[in-house]
Symmetry: C2
DNA sequence: TGTTCTTTAAGGGTATACCCCTAGAAAATT
DNA sequence: AATTTTCTAGGGGTATACCCTTAAAGAACA
């Protein structure tokens, strides 16, 4: 028997879900709550296998609820549910321990499938949500790849020096490691500052990481 | 009519797909190639809507093929296909312009659905692949969140200083911006070095970015 | 209401980074 | 074979970062 907690501030919605789940012999609606703090309080007092958690709860939102739950409980699965297919919402809440994310336009069949999948230890996402995340993933990487083109290419040796700078080595240490003179390393360093339009090593590190220059 | 290029070094596999696609009235197998360079050459000479591309081609692998294709063509969709549900393969090839990733144990129905989805401008991933990526995403973020706990917490003011260091400002500039003394900033700087176990500002920047300390 | 943490600040010093200039040899590219 | 880029390295200098110590006032916490 799967004990489910419904957490959403829209009563009608909660009741709708409730009646859907009641028809299922392996599911039990353990409770209904309408605010973030109530979720936390309920889980502390009762055995809950899965929370159907609205991402956009008033006062304490879903993400904060997840954070709070992680503090004392790791068994309860969280299936996030939202009106919005927003990448930031999705990644944020996955970030904080949710195992799935579905949209409110999800049908009965899919809802049940999602619940059973998550309780079974796997993750579940609406198709639309998957699309959004994947697109985000690709865009992000594409953007960083494009930026690379902005820089004059960084030579092999410069890249070695850059890597060692990022690893917190001093110019002298880098010279020793590469068996070259201190002055040579300084020379590479200064080319790097030029090419990457940085003012100091802090900038070198930031720009290198942001633009994935270490491949 | 969808023009499809099959690219895989296993002839039997290619022929199998070929016979599946022949039965579809809206699909046309434009060609079959068995090596990476042949993919590039074929796309240069012929109109191809979608490539069913084996990730693990010998000599020039699928990822390199994607890179090469991006140089001169952006219309051709790429549906990656592989024996292995390996996170690194998946992210690498998505990175480089593939729109979908399916496994070789995918059935006929799903294959056709994947092709039509990708040609239609959306992405497609086998369920197993989605699981893998999502798990990777969550693990990654969880790991970086855990690391945060390793640091003694960084105070409000220290965080401000840290942010300005990352933005390439000198100690003097930071002092001016925050209306405090040079010595005070140096003091914060040195606390940061201590708390974050860094040797210099390069380390501060790297550790701050790696651990998302700027929230 | 103490106690701890944070923010502020200083003196005095060393190490390192950054800047300007030059320049030959090797390597890659055309 | 010729040109460009990269790697090498020096001299000489200034600016900045980093280290050690100390310390007072305010904020936060128990």
């Amino acid at each position: 028997m799967i004990n489910i907690l419904l957490a959403d501030d829209h009563t009608m919605f909660v009741d709708g879900i409730d009646s859907i789940l009641k028809a299922e012999s392996d599911m039990n609606v353990a409770g209904k709550v309408y605010t973030g703090p109530d979720v936390v309080a309920f889980v502390k007092e009762n055995k809950v296998d899965l929370i159907l958690l609205d991402v956009n709860l008033p006062d304490m939102n879903g993400i904060e609820v997840c954070k709070a739950l992680k503090e004392f409980d790791n068994n309860t699965k969280i299936l996030a549910i939202s009106m919005f297919n927003e990448e930031s919402f999705v990644t944020e809440i996955l970030n904080n321990g949710a195992q799935g994310y579905i949209l409110k336009n999800t049908g009965r069949e899919e809802l049940l499938k999602a619940i059973r999948t998550v309780v079974g230890g796997k993750s579940y996402f609406s198709d639309d949500v998957t699309q959004t995340i994947m697109k985000g993933l690709m865009k992000q990487r594409k953007a960083s790849k494009q930026k690379e083109g902005f820089f004059p290419k960084i030579s092999r040796r410069e890249k070695e020096v850059l890597r060692l700078i990022i690893e917190e080595h001093t110019t002298q240490e880098i010279a020793n490691k590469l068996f070259i003179s201190l002055k040579t390393v300084e020379s590479h360093r200064s080319s790097l500052l030029n090419k990457m339009n940085a003012r100091n090593s802090a900038g070198l590190v930031r720009i290198a990481i942001e633009n994935n220059l270490l491949d």
